[in-house]
Amino acid sequence: MTEIKQGDIVLQARGITKRYPGLVANDHIDFEIRAGEIHAILGENGAGKTTLMSILFGLTHPDEGEIYVFGKKVNFRSPLDAIDLGIGMVHQARKLISAHTVLENILLGHPHAGAILDMKKTAEEVKQLCDAYGYKIDLNAKVWHLSEGEKQMVEILKALYRGAKILIMDEPTSALAPPETEKLLETIQLMTKNELAIVPFITHKLPIVLSVSQRVTVLRRGKIVARLNTAEATEQSLAMEMIGREVLFNLKRPDVKIGKPILQVENISVHDDKDYWAARNISFEVREGEIFGIAGVSGNGQQPLAEALAGLRKASAGRVLFENKDITRLSSLERWKKGIGYIPSEQRAVGSIGDFSLVENLLMSYYYDDQFVKWGLIDAKKIRQLTQELIEEYNVATPNPDVKARNLSGGNLQKMILARVFSRKPRLIIANLPTQGLDVGAMEFVQNKLLEEKKAGAGILLISEDLDEIMALSDRIAPMYEGEFMDILPGGSAQRETVGALMAGHKQKAVQA
């Protein structure tokens, strides 16, 4: 390998295209990465970032297109090929073995590791890397003892120790505390001085991108929509490029009289699975005939909040009132019976049981109903008939109601879940990412159904990452960022740029704009 100088092209992608059924994840992507630059790739969830990243790291094969590394055309069969060519990857969900020590993780699979591990020599070499970038880390500590920032250090060290010249980082700042973020930015800037190319993939925290990167490429719906020098870009312009300007929806929002409050949430706080604060001190209400939209990038606390309201997670503090009655301590079943319907974001893991038929899946919302289950015996005929009716009403494409849920496509399964929830005539619907991963047709169907429910007077809490959807459907919009509502805006008059900036965490600037 010849000596690399600052500014040399180290990686080039030409016409990268990857299609999945019903979706073009990457549509003729072209870009190049130069030595010594930080080149951010920006895009919302579903913009095709993950696919592109997998292709660059050899996890996925592109259908079309060519990749050149250091001027040579390459064809990755596995990540190992990419690693050998000097591409390192820092994953968002850390790819480390938590029971092993830092050093063992760094050494695992290293081509120069001898049969008997020379821990002393490795430790010295890794120490040198640490010193070069000002890392302080106990190399003999077990990984499960480390903080998120330290784990990221280990991943970076592992890639560098393997000789990476191009470092791909997936949401590098997402799990870091502010001081750790600063440290990271400092380090990657140092690395660029050593001819390394850094390619962070980012959805949110735009100011961070602006502060360190030299160039930005923006992806939207699988295409590159902008290539900018960071000096020319502003947060606002990037947010606009990311979200897109075109109005994709042509929904008729019915005129519905907004009635009295159905759901009142008072100062609720929720912890996530790791016992961290996920949502803090949130208060709002949802009224009859109203769609209350929570806009935010996934991982900002929407999921735990929705689960707390549905009774699937304990609220750490605060109160929830449903039709003026305190339901904070009620179980999820008691909440369903009172008239709360929950559409979970994970269709297959939470919304349905894959090995059960559609009839059995429907039964999960009816087993407590005397009309369908008497003396513990299921009225099979009746529930089957209801399934049949709902399949027709909701246009679920299935040969018969005995098909297993796992065999339904995402769109059809979501229709079935909607049918199950809505047929119970809920007064309040909590819809968590109801159109995520659906094709345009199914998406429109789901949105129209939500509007129908609104017309029928139900209150709807809509949680979505899709700004277009939130803007088109909501009567009021709450942008959520790091577990808090940034504001609550009226849906009709809110500017999409304002909402976009708020959900990216820019309180001040958004208010001025």
Binding site: P79, K95, L96, I97, A99, H100, L107, A113, I116, K142
Partner: protein, 291 residues
């Protein structure tokens, strides 16, 4: 008393060899609950080969070979075909139990060869077990091979992106694991008690299996556990001469399992895991499928 300890250590030799094999397999993420079955194969085939050829060496080699073959079978079903490890392990036990009874019956009776010389009453295999314990500990914790084995047992996905061939690593670990079980069985039938009879192992394979959980997957703890379980077994043979009128022998025989359950309960507490982490290989029992 001396005699008691000699017998205990000789018994613990067999627990330790089989247990060490199982540790290697489980460290790689593959559990084989059919230790008893693999040992029965090793014992019976080893016994028959030694008896017909008159050669101890051939007998032990045959025991090791049949054990490795059982390991290969287990690897094929659980790694290649993604079968359930526990179910397949039970299958190996049942197969071993039935088939070895059928094959071994015509050879029932004493081996009829000169006994393997002892060192002060101790079987040479006891010293072999000591060496094996050290070697396996060294390989697991000091070599790249061992790091790979432990990595595919903890998190095969991470191992894969680090460039490790998960399938190959697991295969060799499970085959080695089976070979050790075969050897343990052969040691029982050729050295410890050179008589073939129906159900000759009396559940020793299950004690070895329990020992692995007891050991928290550490070869040294496993060795000491083997000595403890060996002593408990000797007590159970003749409880009246040690602690008269306390427990029947059958109660004594449950002790290795009772102790193991207690250890497992302690291991699962928050108190334990917040200090020492999860001792259990994280991916143990889970088939690995590339996405």
């Amino acid at each position: 008393m001396w005699e008691f300890w000699i017998r205990s250590l000789n018994a613990s030799t067999i627990f330790a060899i089989a247990g060490l094999g199982e540790v290697v397999g489980q460290r790689a993420g593959v559990m084989n609950v059919g230790v008893e079955g693999a040992m029965l194969f090793g014992a019976t085939i080893g016994f028959i080969v030694a008896k017909t050829t008159g050669s101890y060496l051939l007998g032990f080699l045959a025991g090791i070979a049949i054990g490795a073959l059982i390991g290969l079978l287990h690897a094929f079903f659980t790694i290649t075909l993604h079968g359930d490890q526990v179910v397949n392990g039970m299958g190996i036990w049942i197969l071993g139990f039935g088939l070895t009874t059928y094959i071994g019956s015509p050879y029932a009776g004493p081996l009829g060869m000169g006994r393997i010389p002892t060192i002060g009453g101790l079987s040479p295999f006891f010293f072999a077990a000591l060496v094996l314990t050290f070697v396996i500990w060294f390989v697991l914790f000091k070599t790249h091979w061992g790091l790979k084995i432990r990595s595919v047992g903890e998190n095969p996905t991470v191992a894969e992106v680090s460039g490790i061939n998960v399938v190959r690593t697991r295969y060799w670990s499970v085959i080695f694991s089976g070979a050790m079980m075969g050897l343990a069985g052969a040691v029982y039938a050729l050295d410890y008690n050179p008589v073939w009879s129906y159900n000759l192992l009396m559940g020793w394979g299950f004690i070895a299996l329990a020992l692995v959980f007891f050991s928290m997957w550490n070869p040294y703890i496993l060795l000491s556990g083997a000595v403890l379980f060996g002593a408990l077994w000797q007590v159970s043979l003749n409880p009246e001469s040690f602690l008269p009128n306390i427990f029947s022998r059958y109660i004594w025989r449950t002790f290795p399992f009772v102790i193991t359950i207690i250890i497992l309960v302690i291991m699962s507490t928050h108190w334990f895991s917040s200090r020492w982490g999860a001792a259990k290989p994280e991916a143990l029992g889970l088939p690995y499928e590339k996405d």
